[in-house]
């Protein structure tokens, strides 16, 4: 009833090709942004901020990165965790060598280091395809993880081998380190995520995004049409790793606040992000957010939600039950909607448009 495009006439090509061609969608995105910037910080407690919202945003960023590679370009990667790690360590090195420059600059710049590493490990993708490539990217995962442990220069020769995050400020407010409040960290992260999502949306809707999708759908045909495969695939690796790297830096500096980093960027992290992308929907930016929300919040919700509705859980059994439920839900969602939550969202919107008529 409210979600109709009737009466909204497009008088120019740009307005017809807009990302949000319907006025209600534009209002909707405005409402979501308003909720994220104003409503959530008002109502959420520190606990929800730091253990639900911040992880969700970090994972969304990483999922967008992997979605660019896997969903838009069709290259499966199992090395996202390691690329996140490159970002985190690059940011750590940069901020210790140049402590005067603002940390936000370094968080973004560290993405470029990750992009560079991504390009190097993306080179085999020209010859290797499908699951062969997936396993080949595991080489990146294990090699980089080994570097994180064995090259002490990366963690400044700490005895603990951990990343130490000192206090860094912006306009006199601590945004990173032990003194930063969850609200401030949330705002910084939210700004980064919104800006990068906006950029990603523009990339995937433009010429580059179209050439990625052409390569995904059939790379030989794309090549015949004049798309340079090497450039396109490597660019996908670069952009994807850039996002992963920024997500990794954000994870270390805005979420964990330092710590044993090599564990945070292990193979399970890579798998986790792949789950998010697939559960959320391949080739969909909004799907990345859905997937990140689903996978990152699920264990927390199960852990605190089940006792709340009267199902008691003890520590060890809870862990096992959560494993079983996560596994079961993954299979369930794949069976119900193999195209991910993003497709459900689309179907819901279509239904809303027709409402109250069935079709």
């Amino acid at each position: 009833m409210f979600y109709r495009e009737a009466g909204q006439y497009k008088t120019s090509y740009p307005s017809d090709m807009a990302v949000f061609p319907i006025a209600q969608d534009r209002i909707g995105i405005g409402l979501i942004l308003a909720a994220a910037f104003i409503f959530i910080p008002m109502v959420a407690s520190d606990f929800i901020m730091s253990s639900v919202m911040i992880p969700f945003l970090v994972f969304s960023l990483a999922a967008i990165g992997l979605n660019i590679l896997t969903g838009y370009t069709g290259l499966i990667s199992l090395g996202t965790g390691a690329f996140m790690g490159v970002g985190a360590y690059a940011c750590y090195k940069l901020t210790t060598i140049f402590p005067g420059v603002n940390i936000i600059v370094w968080i973004i710049v560290s993405g470029f280091f990750s992009a560079f590493v991504g390009i190097i490990f993306g080179i085999p993708s020209l010859r290797i395809k499908g699951f062969y490539l997936a396993v080949a990217t595991l080489a990146a995962q294990f090699f980089l993880q080994w570097c994180f442990v064995r090259i002490p220069w990366l963690y400044n020769y700490n005895a603990s081998g951990a990343i130490e995050v000192g206090t860094r400020t912006l306009f006199g407010i601590p945004i990173v380190g032990p003194n930063a409040t969850p609200e401030v960290r949330y705002y910084v992260l939210l700004c980064i995520v919104v800006a990068l999502t906006w950029i990603a949306s523009n990339i995937v809707h433009g010429r580059i995004g179209r050439s990625w999708m052409a390569v995904r759908d059939m790379d030989i045909a794309a090549e015949l049409m004049g798309i340079k495969l090497l450039d396109t695939k490597l660019l996908a690796f670069a952009v994807s790793s850039f996002y992963a790297g920024v997500a990794g830096a954000c994870m270390m500096f805005l979420w964990y606040g330092g710590g044993e980093a090599s564990d945070a960027f292990n193979i399970n992290q890579s798998f986790n992000i792949l789950f998010m992308v697939i559960i959320g929907g391949l080739g969909s930016l909004i799907g990345s957010f859905f997937g990140a929300a689903f996978i990152s919040m699920l264990p927390t919700v199960l852990k605190f939600g089940l006792p709340a509705i009267g199902i008691p859980l003890s520590g060890a059994t809870a862990e096992h039950l959560i494993h079983i439920m996560v596994g079961g839900l993954i299979i369930f969602f794949l069976i119900v909607e193999p195209h991910g939550l993003a497709r459900l969202w689309q179907i819901g919107k279509q239904k809303l448009r027709m409402w109250p008529f069935p079709y």
Partner: protein, 318 residues
């Protein structure tokens, strides 16, 4: 100059100057390779017949091993425990086919790949709940597996061979022979090959896909059980074994996803390459290079043969 010497020449000098040590390293590589090959074999079986990249194979090894140990701990005699464990693997195959594969028929490969992740999670949860998280030992005596070691004099030194490793190699060889026979000579084997070639064509000549899938998952389960026993007899069975199972992946891409001989030879190449690399070059780089060397070796081969050593040639059409 010195570092170049250390990397390029010194390891070979070491190999020549202590040939018995070199042989020992190769033997250890072979043993590791056999185990990788056993795990990879399960992957290949399922991939050949259903095109599913079964990530859960490593977890199936752990699960099968723990099931067997649990039956033995209950006091069931070894042969019966083995039969019961095989029964459990059959039940698992049927359950997976019914609840996961059948509803997901005709979906893209990556979706099925993800579904096997779901299976992995469920197996971890169920396994830890039933068997507990501690590592457990396989009762080697009950299976009449030999223990102790042989010492063979070679080049003025000794090469030490664990008897259990020899047994593992023999059992693996027997099993591969049996699988090859099963695939080439039996009716079901022919049906399996037909399904591997084309699902649709196989369906149209009256082969039941559902049955075939149960059979391959069951076969993979048995391979997993054998791998679990062999691994458990060497050290112990624990959930950490799952990480070792990831080593089977470079074996797979090296040998080709669809080739049984590829899995074996790939396993041996990776096993030997990894041990030699770790032993002779590892110390130069601070050790622990085993974790990624296998992938690098596989990647090197892959750049020249993108379908793996023995994989079917990839033909692409527009």
């Amino acid at each position: 100059m010195h570092s170049l010497y250390m990397v390029l020449i010194d390891p070979f000098v070491q190999m020549v100057s202590a040939p018995d040590l070199f042989l020992q390293t190769i033997w250890e590589g072979l043993v590791a390779g056999v185990l990788y090959a056993l795990i990879a074999l399960g992957f290949v079986l399922i991939f050949k017949a259903s095109g599913v990249f079964n990530f859960a194979q490593g977890m199936m090894v752990v699960f099968a091993g723990l099931t067997l140990i649990a039956f033995q701990d209950l006091g069931v005699p070894a042969p019966l425990a083995l039969i019961l464990a095989v029964g459990v693997m059959y039940l698992m195959a049927v359950t997976i086919e019914r609840t996961v594969l059948r509803p997901l028929v005709n979906q893209p490969d990556i979706i099925l790949f993800m579904a096997t992740f779901g299976i992995t999670y469920i197996l971890i949860g169920v396994g830890e709940m039933i068997f507990g998280g501690e590592p457990k030992d396989v009762n080697t005596k009950a299976f009449m597996l030999p223990q102790g070691s042989l010492e063979i004099p070679a080049f003025g030194g000794f090469v030490q061979l664990q008897k259990i490793d020899i047994a593992a190699a023999i059992i693996a060889a027997l099993m591969i022979g049996a699988l090859a026979f099963f695939f080439q000579k039996t009716r079901i084997g022919r049906a399996l090959r037909a399904v591997a070639d084309s699902h649709k064509a196989a369906l149209s000549v009256g082969i039941s896909l559902n049955q075939i899938w149960v059979i391959v998952w069951f076969a993979a389960g048995i391979v997993a059980l054998v791998a679990g026993i062999m691994w458990g007899a060497r050290s112990n069975v624990s959930f950490a074994l799952q990480v070792v199972a990831l080593k089977a992946l470079p074996v797979l891409i090296l040998g080709g996803f669809t080739s049984i001989p590829g899995a074996i030879i790939g396993g041996l190449i990776i096993g030997i390459g990894e041990k030699i690399g770790e032993f002779y070059w590892g110390p130069l780089m601070g050790g622990g290079i085993e974790s990624w060397l296998a992938y690098l070796i596989a990647l090197g081969f892959l750049l020249f043969r993108p379908q793996g050593l023995f994989g079917e040639k990839i033909i692409e059409r527009i």
